[in-house]
Amino acid sequence: MPTQDSNIERTTEYLAGILKLDPVIECDRLFSARARFLQLDSADSQPVTDLADQWNQREGLAQKISEIRIRFWREDVGCPEETLASLDCSQFPDLKHAAERLCTVAGSRQEFMQLVQDEHRDVDFAASLRKVLVAGPREAAAERDEAIDSIHDAQQLKKIKGMLRDLCESLPQVYGLETDWLDAVLRMRKRRRKNGSPVSNGGPMDFETDYIVTLVTTAVLYVLTAAAIMSVLTALSK
């Protein structure tokens, strides 16, 4: 037990670090640190004197990443690649992952912006995609759901799919960050129209059926127009 004078510093650092942890979300860290301090588990040992420093370091890094996320897409702010590269997140796997992800997007920021700002793109989905790419995991999950829910019709979906195919082709590293979700969007066929829509009042609508109906209607109109023109020409020729 750390009760001798030589262990006072170790005990102080341990307590200063552990008392700052949030037991609701950091219980695993808390009990790992306790086990190491009490030597309940000799494996996976880590000097407890580092705990307080680590906590402060982690807090600082998380704050910087959060600031980068907020300003990531602002044009008046320089490219955040350099700032991200200067962050040493090697001790914190979750932050390391976040920084690497932001770095990937930052490396293609200009190309990405040009791609999604094309006038033929779906503006809302492009905005959601921008948010998802730089948000934290929890916010990104919510944003993905919102983006899917905001797709109303076949025309919109067609625009979105076009944009995603271009993204996959020209910026595969960015597409790769969201492959699961974006592949799911590309596979989408059925969507529900918004409530109150004059077309379906919220009933299910198959995009393919919608497309075929449009094609058939157009074809019929062409045939009728052609027949009318032919009739007029025939009448005139007589």
Binding site: T12, A16, I18, V24, F31, A52, A141, A142
Partner: protein, 353 residues
Amino acid sequence: MTDSATPPPDWSLLPHDAEAFFGLAPGFSRRDLKQKYSRLIKVYKPEKAPVEFQKIRAAFDQLAEPLRYGESIAIRDVTPASIFGQTSEVSSERPESLDLELRSTVSSPQKTAARIRRDSPATVYQELATRAGKTPFDYYALAVLSDTLPEFNPQWFFNWLLAGLRQFPEDPALLRMLHWYLRANVSPRSIRRILLVTASTVRNDRFYSLTEPLWDELLRTSPFEEFRQTLKHCESRLQDRRLEGRVAFLMHILKPALWKADGDWIEETFRIVDEHLGQVSRATEAEMELLNALREYIAVRSTFLNGHPLRSQIDQSIHDYCCLPPPQNAPRTSNASSVWHPTAVSYWKLFRS
């Protein structure tokens, strides 16, 4: 863009953030979780990637347990400002005068951590221990500080958590601490005493979800009669008319208990589950079907084992699935003849039919 091209999941998110690992949105359901889980284990099959499978399984269990008991895992969304008492429900037994005193002496993680650098842990401990109107954070600090006292007693940590929960029965941080303590630091010899003491403090339906792993361990390591008596004593201390936790617990414990319990206990427990199943919104037909199939299987198990040697492997696989803690209940071998538990149960169903 096929499944094979899907990038691997972010393993670094485990074990801290299983929700993000599975890509789950806040407020996800058991069905959402199962969908994500199934998708991953199709790629990381237990016989091909046992290490990855075990990590996925552990993350699944971490999220599935609160869902099974109907608890909101939104506890993880508590903001730092609301931790430790600022939103906690104070026990009605708390004298009103203490609240006034609390306002003037309230401590915070930052203040206490700073004090530790000025004063000795024993001094801070003594001051907090004698303070009237302790906050939930005080109890947490006392638990942590008690580990560093010269007259160290490993039980004090647990005792301070319980003392805090007696005053603040709904405090999320103290509940989370107890949840982890009961999964990390209980020696097999102490299980019975810990269960009885916990039942005297957490006297509501949440008791079952908090203590579930201890019951699993007790059942594995002790005679069934000891398990039965302990459960009876603990339940006599609970004061909650809700049954959701109890039914979810019985459905869980029946799986291993079926292999050890006597017929009367099994019959009575099935009766309770059947009677109250409608009150448990999260109980699924599949789980009940599995329990019924297991019950039938165990009744004819000896006959089933008199046959091809493969049947012994199937039997072992079903037994491991029911009785061993995850991830040990995953398949033991990676050869082609190994059978995994759902397959084994399905095989049994085919045999039965």
